[in-house]
C-alpha cells in the first residue's frame, strides 16, 4: 500500500492482504540499504493471521519516495509517524540490524505507542568498518558484496533458501543495488556509525521485548545482542545456531516460529 508521511510517498507491503484498521498493527523495519522484501517470509504469515503486517520501505529505499533519512533518531520519529499515517494509535515493532537501532530508539521515544519490540540481529551500537563505510559512501558496489559476505553465516553462503529456487546472496545483492548505493547504503551506514544512544534508549524500554540472535552473526555478534538485551527489563533472548546475520532468510522458519509465539502472546491478533 502507499500513503504519505511528511508529504513523501511511503510504500509498505501488507503481506498480500488488504489493510484493515480493525486489526492490530505490526511494523517491520528493514536493515541498511535493503527493502521491505527482506521480510516476505514473516509478513505474509501475520497478514493471514489477524494482523496488519506493514513491511515499510524507509524513505529513499525500495518503492518509497523522498530522500534517505540521515540519522537513526529521524528514522525512529518516522516510524512513529507511520503509525499515525495509517490511522493507528499503537503498534508492535520488528527490526532487523539497523532496523533494531531504529525500533529501539522509537520504542524509547514513544513508550505508549509501542506494545512489543522484536529485534533480529540487533546491538546497542553498530560501528561501521571505515573501509566499508567509505566504499558505500563512494557508491562502490563492492560495499554491497562485502555486506552480503559478512551478513551470511558459513551455512548461508551455500544457499539453502527456504523458498525453493531462490538464492540468498544474489537476491540480497539485487535489493541493495536496486537504488543508488551511496544514497541508501551509504547514508544508512553513516547513520548507524553515528548513533550512540542505543544503550541509553534500551534502559527506557518497558514493553515485552524479544531478541533473536545468531551464533555466526559477524555484523552484530551474539555478545553485542546480549549486552543490549540485558539493559531491557524482562527481555527474552532466542539464539539460533549455525546461522548468520540474515537470520530472517537463513533460518526463516525458526524466526517465524519464535516471532509468532512472542507476538501472539503479547499482542494478540484480531480473532476471526
Amino acid at each position: 500500500m502507499k500513503f504519505k508521511v511528511d508529504n513523501n510517498d511511503v510504500f509498505a507491503s501488507t503481506g498480500g492482504r488488504p489493510f484493515d484498521k480493525k486489526k492490530p498493527l505490526i511494523i517491520f523495519v528493514h536493515g541498511s540499504g535493503l527493502t521491505h522484501m527482506t521480510w516476505v517470509l514473516q509478513t505474509r504469515y501475520f497478514a493471514f493471521h489477524g494482523y496488519n503486517a506493514l513491511a515499510v520501505d524507509l524513505p529513499g529505499h525500495g518503492l518509497s519516495g523522498g530522500e534517505s533519512l540521515k540519522s537513526i533518531e529521524e528514522m525512529a520519529d518516522w516510524v512513529s509517524a507511520v503509525i499515525d499515517a495509517v490511522g493507528h494509535k499503537e503498534a508492535s515493532l520488528v527490526g532487523h540490524s539497523q532496523g533494531c537501532l531504529v525500533t529501539v530508539e522509537c520504542t524509547s521515544r514513544y513508550p505508549d505507542k509501542i506494545k512489543t519490540l522484536s529485534l533480529m540481529g540487533g546491538a546497542g551500537a553498530i560501528p561501521m568498518n571505515p573501509q566499508l563505510l567509505s566504499l558505500a559512501e563512494n557508491n562502490d558496489p563492492k560495499a554491497v558484496d562485502l555486506m552480503m559476505d559478512w551478513a551470511h553465516g558459513p551455512a548461508g553462503h551455500f544457499g539453502g533458501h527456504p523458498v525453493p529456487g531462490l538464492y540468498h546472496i544474489n537476491t540480497g545483492t539485487m535489493l541493495a543495488k536496486s537504488r543508488t548505493i551511496q544514497n541508501t547504503l551509504g547514508v544508512d551506514f553513516r547513520a548507524c556509525d553515528n548513533y550512540k544512544n542505543g544503550f541509553e534508549a534500551a534502559k527506557k524500554i518497558k514493553c515485552p521485548t524479544l531478541s533473536i540472535l545468531a551464533t555466526d552473526d559477524k555484523m552484530c555478534p551474539v555478545i553485542e545482542g546480549k549486552k543490549l538485551a540485558a539493559l531491557i527489563e524482562g527481555s527474552q533472548i532466542d539464539i539460533i545456531d549455525n546461522c548468520g546475520h540474515m537470520m530472517l532468510l537463513e533460518e526463516a522458519d525458526r524466526v517465524l516460529t519464535v516471532l509468532k509465539k512472542f507476538i501472539t502472546n503479547n499482542y494478540p491478533p484480531l480473532s476471526s
Binding site: S13, G16, M37, G159, P162, G165, L166, Y167, T171, S178
Partner: protein, 443 residues
C-alpha cells in the same frame, strides 16, 4: 610490520566451488555428503496451519513435487548462483523452460520479437504454436541489431534469442539488444544453452531472463532431459503498465502482486506458483540429481570441450573436403570480436561446417564416421554430428531454412572431450567416404 591496511575483499564462494556446493547444506540432510534424491510426490504438513501457510506462500517449503522438490531445489539454487541470478526454476526440458518463460510473461494479444536463428523446435514453438495461444512473434536476424528495435510494437512483451544461434553460430549483440529492450521497457530473454555460465553470464551483459536446456553441457553426459529459467532480478516490472499479471493483484493467490511482494524474484515466483501449478512441466528428482553430477565438473569439461573445438576448427579449415567453417574463434567469423567480449573463457564447442559435395557428401560423411555419434543432441561429453537440413531442422520448408541461415551442405558438430587425435582420425574416415562418390563420378 607495514601499517598499510589490508584491502577488504568479499569472500563469497567462486564458480568452481559453487558448482560443487551451492544450494545444499549437508547438516540439514542427515549429514549426507551427496545431495539426496527426494523420490517423493508430496510432503507432510505439520498441521492445518502449516499447510495453509505453504499454500498461501506465507512460508517456504514443499507441497507437491510438481511445484517443487528438495533435490530439484538444490539444482535451481546452484544454477542461480552460477549465473549470478536471484532465483531459478527447473523444468522437464529446455523447451518447457522456454514455454514457461513465455507464458509467465505474455497473454493472448501480446507480441514477442525473436531472433531467427534458433533450434528448429524453438522456431516452431514461436512460429506455429504460440500463435494458437494468441501470442504473435516477429523474427529478426540475430546480427540485425536495429531490426530488433524496429520490430518492437506497443504490445511487445519481450525479446528472445539464442546468444549463439543454432546451428549457424551467429551471435546476438546482447549488450546492444538489451539496451533496446530496456529502452522499450521490456525484458531480454536469452537462451544460453551453448555457453553455460562458465563461458558467459548473460546477466552481466544486460539479459533479464536466462534459459538453458540443461540436457546439454550442464548435465553434459547425454543422460537426462532438463531445462531451467533463471532470473537476473534487475528488471523493474512496475516501471510501466505492460505487465499487469506481474504487478496487479492475482486472483489465484488472494490478490497477491508478485512484483510488489517478491521484487527481484517475482518472475520465478510467478512461473512456479502459476506455471508449474497449471502446466506442470516438472523435473524429476532423479534427473535433477543427474544434472547436478554434471555441473560438479562443468568448468573442467568446458575447458576441454573448448580446447578440442579450437583444434577441430584448425583441422577443418585446412581440410581439402571442407568448403567453409563457422565458429566464433575463426578470425573472419563476422562475430569474432563480439565473441571475444561475450565469451572470454572460450568460444564454445559447436562448429558448423560445409562439406564439399553438398548434401550427398554430407550424408556419406555422417553414415561413415564411427566415433562421432549421429544423433539429435548437442553438448554430450562425446562428439556428435548431424546434418541439420535432414535432421533437427527437417520440419522447416525451403524458405524457412534459408531465413534460418541453413544450407544443405552444413554439418553441425558438437565437439566432445575424447582424445583430439581420435576425433580427427574418425573424421578422416568420414571425409574419405564423402569424397568417394565424387571421385567415382569424376572418372
Amino acid at each position: 610490520m607495514s601499517d598499510k591496511k589490508k584491502e577488504l575483499k568479499p569472500n563469497t564462494y567462486k564458480f568452481d566451488t559453487l558448482s560443487l556446493h551451492a544450494g545444499y547444506q549437508p547438516h540439514k540432510n542427515a549429514g549426507s555428503r551427496q545431495v539426496p534424491i527426494y523420490q517423493t510426490t508430496s510432503y507432510l504438513f505439520d498441521d492445518v496451519d502449516h499447510a495453509a501457510a505453504l499454500f498461501n506462500l506465507e512460508r517456504g517449503g514443499h507441497i507437491y513435487s510438481r511445484i517443487s522438490n528438495p533435490t530439484v531445489g538444490v539444482l535451481e539454487e546452484r544454477v542461480a548462483s552460477l549465473e549470478g541470478g536471484t532465483a531459478a526454476l527447473a523444468t522437464s526440458s529446455g523447451m518447457s523452460a522456454i514455454f514457461l518463460a513465455v507464458m509467465t510473461l505474455c497473454e493472448a494479444g501480446d507480441h514477442l520479437v525473436v531472433s531467427s536463428q534458433l533450434y528448429g523446435g524453438t522456431v516452431n514453438l514461436f512460429r506455429l504454436t504460440l500463435p494458437k495461444f494468441g501470442i504473435k512473434c516477429t523474427f529478426v536476424k540475430p546480427r540485425d541489431t536495429e531490426g530488433f528495435k524496429k520490430a518492437i510494437q506497443k504490445n511487445t512483451k519481450g525479446i528472445f534469442g539464442e546468444l549463439v544461434g543454432n546451428p549457424g553460430n551467429e551471435i546476438m549483440n546482447m549488450p546492444e539488444i538489451a539496451k533496446i529492450a530496456h529502452e522499450a521497457g521490456i525484458p531480454l530473454m536469452v537462451d544460453a544453452t551453448y555457453q553455460t555460465p562458465y563461458l558467459c553470464k548473460p546477466f552481466e551483459h544486460g539479459a533479464d531472463i536466462v534459459i538453458h536446456s540443461l540436457t546439454k553441457w550442464m548435465a553434459g553426459h547425454g543422460s537426462s532431459m532438463a531445462g531451467i529459467l533463471v532470473e537476473g532480478g534487475k528488471f523493474d516490472w512496475m516501471q510501466n503498465d505492460k505487465f499487469p499479471t506481474m504487478t496487479k493483484p492475482y486472483e489465484g493467490y488472494h490478490g497477491l502482486s508478485f512484483a510488489e511482494e517478491f521484487g527481484p524474484t517475482a518472475f520465478t515466483m510467478k512461473a512456479r506458483a502459476e506455471g508449474m501449478r497449471d502446466f506442470g512441466p516438472c523435473l524429476s528428482p532423479q534427473n535433477a540429481w543427474n544434472v547436478l553430477q554434471g555441473i560438479e565438473t562443468l568448468s573442467v569439461r568446458m575447458k576441454k570441450h573448448c580446447s578440442n573445438a579450437e583444434e577441430m576448427v584448425k583441422y577443418l579449415m585446412n581440410h581439402e573436403s571442407v568448403a567453409w567453417v563457422s565458429h566464433p574463434s575463426v578470425p573472419d567469423h563476422p562475430d569474432h570480436e563480439l565473441a571475444k567480449k561475450l565469451l572470454p573463457n572460450g568460444r564454445g564447442s559447436m562448429i558448423a561446417f560445409g562439406i564439399k559435395g553438398g548434401k550427398e557428401a554430407g550424408v556419406a560423411f555422417i553414415n561413415n564416421v564411427k566415433l562421432a555419434s549421429h544423433l539429435a543432441n548437442v553438448g554430450d561429453t562425446r562428439t556428435l554430428v548431424i546434418h541439420p537440413a535432414s535432421g533437427t531442422h527437417s520440419q522447416m520448408d525451403e524458405a524457412t531454412l534459408k531465413f534460418a541461415g541453413l544450407s544443405h551442405d552444413m554439418i553441425r558438430l558438437s565437439v566432445g572431450i575424447e582424445d583430439i587425435e581420435d576425433i580427427k582420425n574418425d573424421f578422416e574416415v568420414g571425409f574419405r567416404a564423402a569424397r568417394k562418390p565424387r571421385l567415382v563420378s569424376n572418372q
